[in-house]
Symmetry: C2
Subunit: 198 residues, 2 copies
């Protein structure tokens, strides 16, 4: 179908990141997650622009210390999150221009909207499977696995809504939503690769 990109939104503990990495090997195209997008942003020289914006925000004399701490916005109404998001969008667009690839997280489905040549995925799973997975992968913490999942989902949902104005995890925002707990990680990779290769 001539698709060039895959975007993956995922619940914490659903294995969505692993699915992205496995797909990257399987389809022989690179993947970019938060760490890699940050690295690319640095390589592309965005770090300097970003740091100078943030310094400007911090040195702005228009608002007092507490206001800035609480609201965290400069005189253009931009927060640190806004600056990060602007940079991420530029990087994602440049990477997408450069060739086929997979984006894990970073609201890439929203950044690429309007393009016809990408497959946007939402990976989710049931609470029990996710609890098991995060304990296996990241160990126990002071907070219960359930609380860790709810906290992280809330943060991802809030971030997605902040950046895109859309609701996270609502099917209408994606092409395909996969319950990785039911299908399994391997089967999910297999099914997505099959669709991609058609």
């Amino acid at each position: 179908m001539g698709r060039k990109h895959i975007t993956i939104s995922r619940q914490f503990g659903s294995g969505g990141h692993t699915i992205g990495v496995e797909l990257s090997k399987r389809l022989n195209i690179p993947y970019y997650d938060q760490n890699l997008i940050e690295k690319v942003a640095r390589d592309m020289g965005y770090e300097e622009e970003f740091v100078s914006n943030i310094e400007e925000l911090e040195s702005s004399s228009k608002y007092n210390f507490f206001y800035k701490l609480l609201v965290g916005r400069d005189e253009f109404g931009k927060s640190i999150t806004d600056y990060i998001w602007e940079t991420e969008q530029k990087v994602i667009r440049q990477l997408a221009e450069a060739g086929p690839c997979i984006f894990i997280g970073r609201c890439a489905d929203y950044v690429l909207e309007g393009k016809e040549d990408f497959l946007s995925l939402y990976i989710y799973s049931n609470m029990e499977a996710r609890k098991k997975r995060i304990v296996e992968r990241f160990g126990e913490r002071e907070d219960s696995p359930r609380k860790r999942l709810i906290d992280k989902d809330r943060k991802r949902g809030n971030h997605y809504h902040y950046c895109t104005g859309r609701d996270w995890g609502v099917p209408e925002n994606y092409d395909l939503c996969i319950n990785s707990g039911k299908l399994g990680i391997e089967e999910s990779v297999e099914a997505i690769a099959h669709i991609w290769n058609r």
Copy 2:
């Protein structure tokens, strides 16, 4: 994977019914939608039981005419919808026992819950594609295509919630959610058949 059944929940105008019928041909297993489940209920002799329950509800002297009209419940608190739903559940379970098949609608994903051997799907699409589809298939009506879609979705959502206590169209209730407007009907059938046959 040894799966025996497929259940399809779908938005009006998403082509979910067509996907079910095409899958039935492709996988060579029967499908059951509302009409066929009604027919089977009749063949299984449930009609008599159902009609007698309804007659009892209608002749009940415990409540007055308006109360029954408004609330539509008998002395056990059961409405006509409850009686239909009970019969549907019995029929769906019996059909599932009889062999592999596809259920279109009728909250079959909920009826089969707990079984490991079925694939539950939610088929949805974007508003524009759905508007186009219902006008092509069912013609123009006095109400706008948008209003017809919203009304029907609302009814399906309410019915699903009434029968299952769960929210309709929420990914967590399904194994796979497919945007048929993005993937296309044929590709959706192809992808589901691929997963089924693994």
